[in-house]
């Protein structure tokens, strides 16, 4: 059976300080919702960093990384370390783009980490449209990024922060089970998560009442917008070659990344337009 991460990545952030790009490296990797916690993910992060160092030409061991599992941790980390590059979940990207001066340079291609479309899923037959969910409990991975949820995922139909009673969860299937149990009225799942949820006892009653437009993937971003074109080119080359290389393929595999590809400008552009700034 294919192994999948059912929780989409909220933020996989590779932070590289400006100084590091300019010369001595000071690299941090911040990854959330790939599963596990900061400590247990560190060996994977370290292997990833060592590979990047070797391909970009940084001194061995110069890059530092961290795996962070919540928006709060990410914000704190960014404030503390001033990283240079991140692999970040689209919700966080759109919400912090201006504040952090983010520039998307690549995106992740992964059937395990990326949700190309999301659905609002309910169980109660009386709930037919989003309007029926007014004031109801919605448990989602996107509760920490309500603006992205409202504008990009729900296409501006409702203001999620005020329309629903939101609760942040760490696992998509957790939301599905909460709906089945009656702990909440709705959750948000992608196609695969919805299919998987239907295998859970009582899951056949789950159904989507709303489907989002196409959603952007996880972008690789630079912070501060001050990366030199040559450094940026070096990093893009290193990332795009990584998953096809003999030494990088296993690292991509353990991080559940299929490959790094150029940004899908159409989808990102449309999402940006919906987000509105």
């Amino acid at each position: 059976m294919k192994t999948r991460i059912l929780a989409p990545v909220v933020a996989i952030v590779l932070f590289v300080s400006g100084a590091a790009v300019a010369g001595p490296t000071d690299v941090a990797i911040n990854v959330t919702r790939l599963g596990g916690d900061t400590v247990s993910a560190q060996p994977f992060v370290d292997r990833f960093l060592r590979h990047v160092e070797s391909k970009v030409g940084w001194a061995a061991g110069s890059a530092k990384g961290a795996f962070l599992v919540s928006r709060k941790d990410v914000l704190a980390y960014v404030a503390d370390t001033k990283p240079g590059i991140g692999m970040i979940e689209p919700g966080l990207y759109f919400e912090m783009r201006k504040a952090w001066g983010l520039q998307a340079i690549l995106q992740v291609e992964s059937s395990e980490l990326v949700s190309p479309r999301l659905h609002v899923v309910v169980k109660d037959p009386a709930i037919q449209t989003l309007d029926d969910l007014k004031g109801k409990r919605l448990w989602t991975l996107l509760a920490d990024t309500p603006a992205y949820l409202s504008k990009v995922v729900l296409d501006g139909k409702v203001d999620a922060g005020t329309f629903f009673t939101l609760k942040q969860i760490g696992q998509a299937l957790r939301g599905a089970k909460a709906v089945i149990r009656g702990d909440c009225e709705a959750t948000i799942l992608d196609d695969e998560q919805l299919a998987k949820s239907k295998e859970v006892t009582g899951g056949t009653e789950l159904r989507a009442i709303y489907s989002s437009p196409p959603l952007p993937s996880i972008p690789i971003v630079s912070f501060g917008g001050n990366m030199k074109p040559a450094d940026r080119e070096t990093l893009v080359k290193a990332f795009t070659a990584m998953c096809a290389s003999s030494d990088g393929a296993s690292i991509c595999k353990e991080m559940h990344v299929g490959r790094f590809v150029p940004l899908d400008a159409t989808v990102f552009g449309a999402a940006q337009k919906r987000f509105g700034d």
Binding site: A7, L34, D37, P43, V69, I169, G170, K177, D183, G202
Partner: protein, 773 residues
């Protein structure tokens, strides 16, 4: 039997003998059908073979396996003076890597955990860091993964059948062979676990049969030759026996049966019963009077032995069929298979065997004198001697029987009932390395018996932080219970993961942090595969806590159930969220519990099946013999033999186990043949004659057969005393002893009791008044 019936039977047997080639042809066809099925009958001593499928605990254990997997567990035990010495770490690490590379075998050793937790660390280069890691928490020690002088390497075997199990065990053996042969720097490397016990029993029961049946065959040839002094007679007997066994085992193959440590005795029991029946028939056949043709005498002999043989075979068959009341699957199967096998015995004895006698021209005493002519002296000597010693023999037999009953059932306040062994390791030869390893590991580990506390909630129950917190409290309360060696559950693994992550070996107290732990349980399963063995990954609704104990008696399991229920109730008060997992006592499941239950059910099985066997055989006696005294007296030798045998068991330190528990039914089922033949011929003369005439006649006609049949039965079973398996060895010795005791009673206490019941005396001692009376 009426003269009319006898005439009819003689005609029927003449017809069978006349159609002898047809008979042989039919059996040849039946053999052709049976043999392919017979050779398919496999050997399996797994728990699923030892208990009936309808048993609720068995069903629960099967259901549990569907949720959490049906893995089997092996523990490798590496003993060393200093487990943290670099060379010891290197040896165990290398072993662990070899084991991890075996397909269908997962290692979860402390070293594999260390490598997962610290991928760049080298425990050999920095043993101090490894020791700090291993001893920094009690979690590893509680699970027996590491101790002051050992490593425990738990291996999980994801095998689905016996072949896969054997393959995995062979691979483990290959990976460990070097260290077992020369353990340095270890002190010893030991392998234990139920898969090894099952494999041992399968191997020994199979190889034992191959080795011991020829020994039995040798006894048969020796005795038949010694008795009849005819190769042709020997050939007829051997062929008939083999056909009987082939048909019986073929039937077992057709119904999809599998031999276990118990039912492996089925072919042996069929062979001895068939042999005894053939000896009765042939002994009568060889007594051809000079003035009678062989054909006429053969028809007479077959008709004459038809009733007692039929009665004894069908009484035995019905007696064995009574074992169907047992909840123990191999005992139930053994009963049915023996009953069917005995029907084949009856058919073969009265169709194929007479046809072979005729085809082979087996000689009678007219052509060739049989051995044991001294039995005529016994026949003359027995009546007066047994009369003289009647009180002594009868009272002695009663006293010995009473002592045997006390040995079995005990005497309140004085003697405890006989102990029943239910631990499978007790079926293993105590000289074997497996036995020694298991005993040694049992001393050092918190136990080798595992039971599961199965908790079932709603979808997503395990994602609730309050429930995880409650489960952790429940698990720790269980661990404090004196009957429990260690308790391992989902929260144990979570705590271990937190320890590896540098957060200490306890779950977070902060509700938000605990909510994160519960929230991310599914992703944690990806990190630590061991977690998936404790939660149902589909619904996150069910979990279990594995209790490791030293318990192997079912009453103690029941006591533990009560303690677990009490602890659960107490935990519910402190953690009401746990009510989602049920307010009743949690369900307890596990293969070891089932093994113990099998053992616990042995006593009712023994008493119920034995009582039924007695009732059925007594009913047969009612039909066959119209004499009231006979009905009672006929049972004496068998009951005497059985009870005295239990006394011998007690005196020699043998225990009741899954094999020896059947001894009573087996001995009764086979030895009552002797009493039926004894009485049948006794009454032939007693009716209208005197007790002395009856005794003299039956000793001459049946006595020789009883003597030789007993000799063959006893020595036949005794061949299995060479078995490597203690239960089989004990069963064989006890059966042989019981047959001998039964025969002794046939020729002593039984005639003594008959003198007393009939209030008669030898003809020579009778006064004219006695004669007139």
């Amino acid at each position: 039997m009426s003269a009319r019936s006898e005439v009819f039977l003689q005609k029927a047997f003449r017809y069978i003998v006349a159609k002898r080639w047809w008979v042989v042809g039919i059996y040849a066809v039946l053999l052709g059908i049976s043999i392919p099925f017979a050779i398919r009958v496999d050997q399996d001593n797994g728990i699923d073979r030892l208990i009936v499928k309808e048993d609720p605990d068995f069903i629960a254990t099967q259901n549990f396996a569907r949720v959490f997997g049906a893995s089997e567990f092996v523990v490798l035990f590496a003993e060393a003076d200093d487990p943290y010495a670099p060379d010891v770490i290197a040896a165990v690490d290398a072993l662990d890597r070899r084991l991890s590379a075996i397909p269908k075998v997962a290692s979860n050793s402390i070293l594999s955990i260390y490598h997962r937790a610290r991928p760049d660390a080298d425990p050999v280069a920095d043993p101090g860091a490894f020791k700090t890691f291993a001893t920094g928490t009690a979690l590893f020690g509680q699970q027996g993964m590491v101790g002051d002088h050992f490593y425990g390497l738990p291996l999980i075997l994801d095998v689905r059948d016996g072949d896969q199990r054997e393959e995995a065990l062979k691979a483990i053996d290959a990976a460990t062979a070097d260290l077992i042969a020369s353990p340095a720097p270890l002190n010893a490397l030991r392998k234990v676990g139920e898969p090894y016990v099952n494999s041992y029993l399968n191997e020994k029961t199979s190889s034992g049969g191959m080795r011991l049946f020829p020994v039995f065959g040798g006894f048969v040839i020796l005795l038949c030759w010694g008795l009849y002094r005819s190769g042709r007679a020997l050939f007829a007997i051997i062929i008939s026996m083999l056909v009987n066994v082939a048909l019986c085992v073929g039937y077992i193959g057709i119904v999809g049966g599998t031999f276990t440590i118990v039912s492996v005795m089925v072919p042996m029991t069929i062979m001895v019963t068939c042999l005894a029946t053939l000896v009765y028939i042939h002994s009568r056949y060889v007594e051809q009077p000079p003035d009678c043709t062989v054909d006429d005498h053969q028809a007479f002999a077959l008709a004459n032995k038809f009733l007692p043989c039929t009665a004894s075979v069908f009484a035995s068959a019905a007696g064995f069929a009574a074992l169907v009341v047992s909840d123990i699957r191999p005992i139930r199967e053994m009963g049915v298979w023996l009953a069917i096998g005995l029907v084949f015995t009856w058919l073969v004895s009265f169709t194929l065997f007479p046809a072979l006698q005729k085809i082979l021209h087996t000689p009678t005493q007219v052509e060739r004198k049989t051995s044991a002519q001294w039995f005529e002296h016994v026949a003359a000597w027995m009546p007066p001697v047994t009369y003289r010693w009647r009180w002594t023999t009868v009272l002695l037999a009663l006293a010995m029987s009473a002592a045997g009953a006390v040995a079995l059932f005990g005497l309140p306040g004085v003697v405890a009932p006989m102990k029943i062994l239910t631990d499978p390791i007790d079926y293993v030869n105590s000289d074997s390395q497996l036995y020694k390893d298991t005993r040694r590991v049992g001393e050092l580990m918190p136990g080798l018996s595992m039971s599961e506390v199965w908790l079932k909630g709603k979808v997503g129950s395990l994602n609730q932080p309050e429930i995880l917190t409650g489960l952790d409290a429940f698990q720790q309360a269980l661990e404090k219970e004196p009957m429990v060696g260690s308790a391992v559950g989902v929260t144990t693994v979570l705590r271990m993961m937190r320890y590896i992550g540098g957060k200490g070996d306890v779950l977070p107290q902060d509700p938000d942090e605990m909510a994160t732990v519960a929230d991310s349980l599914e992703t944690a399963i990806r990190q630590e595969p061991l977690l998936s063995r404790f939660v149902d990954t589909k619904d996150m609704a069910q979990t279990h806590i594995t209790l490791v104990t030293r318990i192997n008696d079912f009453p103690l399991w029941l006591e533990l159930d009560k303690r677990v229920a009490d602890i659960w109730a107490a935990t519910l008060v402190k953690h009401p969220a746990l009510k989602e997992l049920g307010t009743d006592a949690p369900q307890m499941v596990g293969a070891v519990r089932l093994q113990s239950k099998v053992g616990h059910n042995l006593v009712p099985t023994l008493t119920e099946s034995f009582a039924l066997t007695v009732a059925i055989i007594f009913s047969v006696f009612l039909v066959v013999f119209r004499n009231g005294a006979a009905r009672l007296m006929a049972m004496i030798p068998s009951l005497f033999a059985i009870l005295v045998m239990f006394g011998i068991m007690r005196l020699t330190g043998m225990s009741l186990n899954v094999a020896t528990i059947l001894i009573a039914s087996t001995v009764l089922g086979t030895s009552e043949n002797d009493q039926i033949h004894f009485f049948y011929h006794f009454l032939e003369k007693k009716n209208g004659g005197t007790t002395e005439e009856g005794l003299r006649h039956t000793t001459l006609i049946a006595g020789r057969s009883i003597f030789f049949a007993t000799l063959i039965n006893a020595l036949g079973f005794l061949a299995f005393a060479l078995s490597d398996l203690p239960p089989i060895r004990q069963f064989a010795i006890l059966a042989a002893v019981a047959f001998a005791l039964s025969m002794i009673a046939d020729f002593t206490a039984l005639p003594g009791a008959l003198w007393m019941v009939f209030k008669d005396k030898p003809d020579a001692l009778k006064t004219p008044a006695d004669a007139k009376a």
